[in-house]
Amino acid sequence: MQKQPKSTQWSLYQKEIANDNYFYGRSCIRQNFFPASEKTFLKILREELGKTVLEDPNHTTCTGIGYHSDVVPFDTTQTVVARQFSLMTAMGLKNMALSCITSFGLYTEILDTWHHFPEQLAKIRELLYKATKREFELPENIAHASDVIYKFRNEIAQKAKYKLVNKETGEPLRVVEHIGCHYSKMFPQSGVGGAEFPQVLSGMVEAFGGEIVDYPERRHCCGFGFRNYLVQANRAYSISNTKKKFESMEPFKPDFIITNCPGCPMFLDRWQYAIAEMEGKTYDAQGKGIPVLTYEELAGMVLGYNPWDLGMQMHQIGVESLLDKIGVAYNPEDKYKDIHGNQLPVPECPASLRGKILDTKHK
């Protein structure tokens, strides 16, 4: 039997991703730190691809951060998730697209639990009814929102205004992809490409013209660790694990990082800033830090959306070096304006990252 090359082993793990009619589940972390990414996802799906994506304003947190911080019991979390299923059922939908990786992992875990312990499903149905008089159907398809962008990567590439190519050299940009742990480490079959060779982000990057960087700590956690970041006394765990990744990727000189979890881009962005402040160390040649993008920002950027509409001014590591490499058109003066075009105060410049963050040309 011929051994399959390592780089194509991901094809053993394929998953079905619904084609249309999604119930959108928002993410606590993404709404806080990358609010425009959720807006961008809906814009791309609805306006570029003509898909139906509905949300219910009564959708709440799934309690995931509380659950993995061990303050919310499993029965409670299952019942809250069952309520989200009930909102989906009431809209006549059967496909979920979830913004959060923690939610995606939890929903997958809960459905797996109910599959193996049907009495648990019966118990949760009873608890939800007792609490809310609600009933629910199980979803037929659960996707992370990055799965959906992956599914339509070629359609997006066809509409793209920019490619992930260095405009000076013509070479593909070198991209680090970071997959949130709960995307497929718990249930490899739930992620495109499984846990070892997840294709969900690398497929997007390659479709948009970039080149994926493989590096030793590619699958290491970003360092969130729930209680290990949420409690101030534990944050050394978080920054140490993030630092381990940066040290591992540094020799490969990535142009930027892309992530599918809402928390990972925040940690990879902020801990770069913190390491620069603490040790004067940056992991790029120019001393500006490596830009970290969400997949929605990536898709919006190649489609030619205004970077400030994409919310890239909410990054601590400036994205301008990346925009300039590709040749993305943007107005640096609009970075800190409000929705009416009025100038807002400008954030202070970090002490250790070279160049002002407002200095978009980074000469």
């Binding site: 928002r26 972390i29 709404q31 609010p35 425009a36 807006k39 219910d56 304003p57 709440t60 947190t61 309690t63 995931g64 951060i65 509380g66 911080s69 061990d70 303050v71 019991p73 499993f74 029965d75 409670t76 019942t79 809250v80 309520r83 992992g105 608890l127 939800l128 609490a131 742990c181 480490k185 718990m186 846990a195 360092g223 660790g225 209680r227 290990n228 949420l230 101030q232 006394a233 534990n234 050394a236 765990y237 140490s240 694990n241 381990k244 902020r270 800033y273 913190a274 509409d309 001014q313 909410m314 990054h315 409000d338 929705i339 807002l344 105060p345 400008v346 954030p347 202070e348 970090p350």
Partner: protein, 237 residues
Amino acid sequence: MVDYCAELEKDIRFQEGLKSCLNCGVCCAICPAAEFYNYDPRSIVTLVQQRNNEVIEQLLKSNTIWYCGQCMSCKTRCPRGNTAGMIIQALRTLSQQLGFFTESEKGRQQYALKKVVGENILNTGYCLCPTMVAPELHVEQGPMWEWVIANIDAVYERMGANYRKPGAGVLRKISDDALQELAQIFEVTGGKEFYKTIEDFSEKKAAEMNLDTTNGPMNDYLVHVYTTNSGTHSGNE
């Protein structure tokens, strides 16, 4: 004496997480917590597998069970289908139910997590809100985040959010009806009782330590558990 193993086995995550460990140690090789702390997920699985009640009680009172970051990388790697991270979840739940969590520095942090994340879920419908990430408590968020918080309404409006307003969209105000449903779910599923358990044992511990839990949201005990790091957790001390 409580039969801790019998209690653990009632937890579905314990049943799912513990198959039979062959002590290969692959979980330790991949574990971010093992790299950072004096922590070894293999030992956790070995100890609970041995079913020694006294040893499990020590574990429930220790810092050890609080080191795991819940990345669940152990599940991917274990050749026998064990998940140390799920066994940890069951141990942490039991430790809190029995009040043992207040016996360790890392365990006592559950009070802060309950106060901050736990209560926010019921008060707002979100695990976290922008103003919870206060710049003075989160210097790592940098000057950009200070800018966000200082201009919060204008920034979130620019981002297309519906911040704290009724209706759909990013960071919308969750309706009172939805919050009421959430509260009811917590009531009937034991979530509220669990919060109270954490609170009651923590108040008892705070009294033993002569720390106040009544002087405001950032009370003395909360600040203590949120910030204390004895520096004895890495094994390199």
